[in-house]
């Protein structure tokens, strides 16, 4: 299992899509490839944009299917962040 503390990587307002892509490619996907559980820790992050969350996880859902969600957990999410994650997850599954 790996835990990714996002605050130190993206700041308290998660909006930088380039950083989201970097985290996905360099941390999340390698862990998923090894069938490791990934915990994305949003502690200290007040809000995020839909674009950031999309850049962080949508390609994972596209490539690995919604089963990937069984290996990813979202921790310490604010209400806003939770809702945006839900929008992106539902959106990707509806778009299949």
């Amino acid at each position: 299992m790996i835990q990714i503390k996002l605050l130190s990587l993206v700041g308290s307002f998660a909006e930088n899509k380039e950083l989201a892509k970097k985290i996905r490619l360099e941390k999340i996907i390698p862990a998923l490839e090894k069938k490791q559980e990934v915990i994305l820790d949003f502690k200290g992050i007040d809000s995020a944009t839909q674009s950031f969350i999309h850049a962080l996880i949508s390609d994972i859902l596209r490539k690995y299917g919604s089963e990937a969600l069984e290996l990813i957990a979202f921790k310490n999410c604010s209400e806003t962040v939770k809702k945006i994650i839900n929008i992106v997850v539902d959106y990707m599954q509806e778009s299949d």
Binding site: E15, Y91, S95
Partner: protein, 321 residues
């Protein structure tokens, strides 16, 4: 090019100002202004700055301003950004905190992150008011950085208006424009149709596929329109020769979001003077009681409904012979 700064140009009455803009002869810019008073939305200032930045200072002519409120343009940093003389005598400048964000050119991701960090304390906002503003600025400017190929980046400005308790923002670029970008993946024969598609959830110029690409969901502008609609505020999008304006919803009316922006209460226009690039103007009322998180529930329902409807529209039908 000629641009005249009128007595008043805010989102509600922006149309005559836009129709008065003359985009011909792109090798020089002439700025004139109302002689008595100028009261302008930041969108107007961002437009003037975006035009001016595509030229050298010696290609810009600004007439001697006489309006009593001419210092506003100086305070918003117009002349400094364009590196031209204002002819306005120095004044004791107001403390910027709590009032406005001067015209700022943003050309990369790091500058945007810094801008957002510095913006909130400058406007003295509470967290519940800062959330939608940060969201809107991030999405609009990232759109410019990713899609517009604007040599001068995104030009952003904002101001707090005490009387209406509203933050007004303007983002302008001199890039490819919405039609060019949308046409990479979707057919839009007019600039207005391109704006309509860009405001529809799930449509992005980066792919024709539902769900977008790894970096683009095609929902950014829809989120912004939804924030404006839920707060019962104006949103203006101007690109090419077309204008879309989301009108204010009356306070008594229940808010309903639509995937198709033409179903919202709005006005639109075509055959306007051609704007090479995209301009967005938005008002964010701080009176709105709706928390940003509650608004997300409404957006969620609409996005999913819109995607389902489009999916259904593409279903193959049984052939009965």
């Amino acid at each position: 090019m000629k641009i005249h700064l009128p007595n008043s140009a805010f989102l509600g009455n922006i149309d005559p100002f836009l129709r008065g803009f003359n985009p011909q002869n792109r090798s020089k810019l002439e700025i004139t202004a109302n002689k008595k008073w100028i009261s302008l939305h930041p969108m107007v200032l961002s437009m003037v700055a975006a035009l001016g930045l595509s030229l050298k200072p010696e290609q810009i002519y600004c007439e001697k301003l006489e309006a009593a409120s001419k210092h506003y343009l100086k305070r918003m940093g117009l002349f400094k950004l364009l590196k031209i003389r204002s002819g306005i005598k120095p004044i004791h400048e107001h403390e910027p905190a709590g009032r406005f964000i001067p015209l700022t050119k943003i050309t990369n991701s790091a500058e945007l992150t810094n801008f957002i960090t510095e913006m909130v304390p400058l406007l003295h906002l509470e967290p519940k008011h800062a959330a939608p503003l940060k969201y809107v600025i991030s999405e609009l400017v990232r759109n410019v950085l990713e899609h517009a190929q604007s040599k001068t980046g995104a030009i952003v400005s904002a101001q707090y208006y005490k009387k209406s308790n509203t933050i007004r923002i303007g983002v302008a670029d001199a890039g490819l424009g919405i039609k060019y970008t949308i046409n990479q993946s979707h057919p839009a024969s007019t600039h207005l149709e391109a704006i309509r598609l860009a405001l529809t959830p799930g449509i992005t110029g980066t792919t024709w596929k539902e769900g977008g690409t790894e970096l683009n969901a095609g929902a950014g502008l829809f989120f912004i329109k939804s924030i404006a609609k839920t707060n019962r505020d104006f949103l203006v999008v101007y690109s090419g020769d077309a204008l879309y304006k989301l009108l204010k919803s009356p306070p008594t009316k229940t808010i309903k979001l639509f995937g198709d922006p033409f179903q919202d209460k709005h006005s639109h226009g075509e055959n306007l003077p051609f704007w090479q690039g995209t301009v967005v103007g938005m008002d964010i009322s701080l009176k709105a009681t709706e928390e940003f998180t509650s608004l997300l529930d409404l957006i969620w329902e609409t996005v999913i409904k819109s995607v389902k409807e489009r999916k259904k529209a593409r279903y193959r039908r049984a052939r009965f012979i």
